[in-house]
């Protein structure tokens, strides 16, 4: 059996899943809108939290946050559940599928057989939608991929019960009830203010603009402190977090720019369009950072390209994004 579910490929898994689930209930929420209304944009650098011996660097909010925040802001009722027993986890999905409900699930990426082998890492924050069952296979709408895929039940179970950091524990979530009309402006106001506040007014030096400055300071010291090889690995790690599958490019800045643009058009607020363009420029600067950074990783840095120059690029981004978010905060006040 297969639920009649419109699958749209997207850049990022959680915002894609959220958008697909809401569209299934008749709400026209694109991926960019889901990302923006879920306050997906973020910057975090936490040097003492390590993943694979590398510091935590993130360009998005905590996993699960996008779905939670979008649905809360739009007045959509949801249900979420985690499991201890794989049998119970499987039975719950089967029951929902039989009732015709598409089920969002958090899984690990490593055990999903349809993932390109080169991208199979122990990453437990992947999201997808289960849309049907055929014999012993589940039909999966994975927003990173162009088509609905089929995945054998044992592999799927292993992915749902992947171990390690942020283990998904079979987590599922689904829409229980969605309103016919939503107040986009109110949702956007709260979402934008949320992002601006975390970027600008964080009390800890690890998040937002302050986090970018801290990373610039540490990045400068990497070659001396860690040696050339380890410094390159740290830098490569940062580029992966920024550009890896799911960011839509430029550490999510392009998706957020698309959100501001769509919002400006749907709410007829032309003042948001220049802010979208500024966010695009910011994404382009992050791309530039990745280009230079990748050359340095390979030890092929050109004239004038060094860790110190990269740190300056990052500080420049921090200044510009600081100004941009302050302006955005002002614009959100009138929404």
């Amino acid at each position: 059996m297969k639920i009649d579910f419109a699958h749209h490929q997207s850049a990022h898994c959680e915002s894609g899943v959220t958008s697909n689930l809401l569209r299934h209930r008749g709400l026209e929420i694109s991926e960019a809108l889901a990302f923006g209304l879920g306050s997906g944009l973020f910057f975090g650098y936490v040097p003492f939290v390590k993943l694979n011996h590398l510091p935590l660097i993130t360009y998005r909010n905590a996993p699960g946050g996008i779905f939670r925040k979008v649905t809360r802001r739009l007045g959509v009722k949801i249900a979420r559940q985690k499991f201890r027993q794989p049998q119970a986890a499987r039975a719950a999905v089967d029951r929902l599928l039989d009732a015709g409900v598409p089920v969002g699930a958090q899984t690990g990426a490593y055990w999903l057989p349809y993932f390109p082998p080169a991208l199979r890492f122990h990453f437990n924050m992947h999201n997808l939608v289960v849309v049907g069952r055929e014999g012993d296979d589940y039909l999966i709408s994975d927003p990173i991929f162009p088509e609905v895929l089929s995945c054998p039940a044992p592999d799927f179970e292993k992915a749902r019960f992947a171990r390690g950091t942020m283990a998904p524990k079979g987590k599922i979530y689904y829409v229980r009830d969605a309103p016919a009309q939503v107040d986009l402006a109110a949702a956007a106001k709260s979402a934008i203010r949320d992002v601006c506040r975390t970027m600008l007014k964080t009390p800890v030096p690890y998040a937002g603009i302050r986090g970018m400055r801290l990373l610039a300071r540490h990045l400068e010291a990497w070659p001396e402190k860690l040696g050339a090889r380890a410094a390159g690995i740290h830098l490569g790690h940062m580029i992966r977090m920024q550009e890896e599958i799911g960011t839509g490019g430029g550490g999510f800045r392009f998706i957020y720019a698309a959100f501001l643009q769509e919002l400006g058009e749907r709410l007829r607020r032309p003042e948001l369009l220049p802010l979208s363009a500024a966010m695009t420029a910011s994404g382009d600067r992050w791309r530039e950072f990745a280009v230079v950074g990748a050359r340095l990783c390979k030890g092929r840095g050109r004239e004038g390209e060094s860790y110190a120059a990269l740190a300056d690029l990052l500080r420049d981004s921090a200044v510009r994004e600081g100004a941009l978010f302050r302006e955005l905060l002002g614009a959100a006040r009138t929404l």
């Binding site: 850049a11 550009e243 769509e262 990748a294």
Partner: protein, 142 residues
């Protein structure tokens, strides 16, 4: 990023395309497929080189009699002791002991099967190591 500048540097996606956000001539955002991007490929290949180096060190240790075959298969699956221990539901200190060749050689079949099931290989494969390291990406051996 402009639509006509969306990179198509194929390398790691095995023919898959992912989506990125770019603007068209009118400044409008459109979803554009991309086959990959050079800086990202470099960063990803670098991550695989780290895995390869680790595998080579492990192989050398096994051949010198300092580690058991389990150490190779653990590294091959990008796992460390805490992660493997979580998968086989054993305390970490026991997994760490099983990385010693003398102790691994005396393991009971039931325990070997538990490891083999988690790593999705047969018990025979678990007890041996391959001649060459095969990785799903084009990184050269050192």
């Amino acid at each position: 990023m402009r639509k006509d500048q969306v990179p198509q540097d194929s390398c790691l996606l095995a023919g898959q395309r992912e989506i990125c956000y770019a603007i068209d001539e009118a400044g409008h955002y459109v979803l554009t497929p991309t086959a990959g991007w050079e800086p990202k490929n470099i960063a990803n290949l670098q991550a695989w080189e780290v895995i390869r180096d680790q595998l080579q060190e492990t192989l050398a240790a096994i051949r010198a009699g300092r580690a058991s075959a389990l150490a190779f298969h653990m590294a091959r699956n990008q796992m460390d002791v805490p992660l493997l221990a979580a998968y086989v539901d054993l305390p970490r200190w026991r997994v760490r002991r099983h990385l010693r060749p003398d102790i691994f050689a005396r393991l009971k079949p039931a325990l070997l099967e538990r490891y083999a099931a988690v790593l999705e290989i047969s018990v025979a494969e678990l007890c041996t190591v391959p001649e060459r390291i095969e990785l799903p990406v084009p990184v050269e051996e050192k």
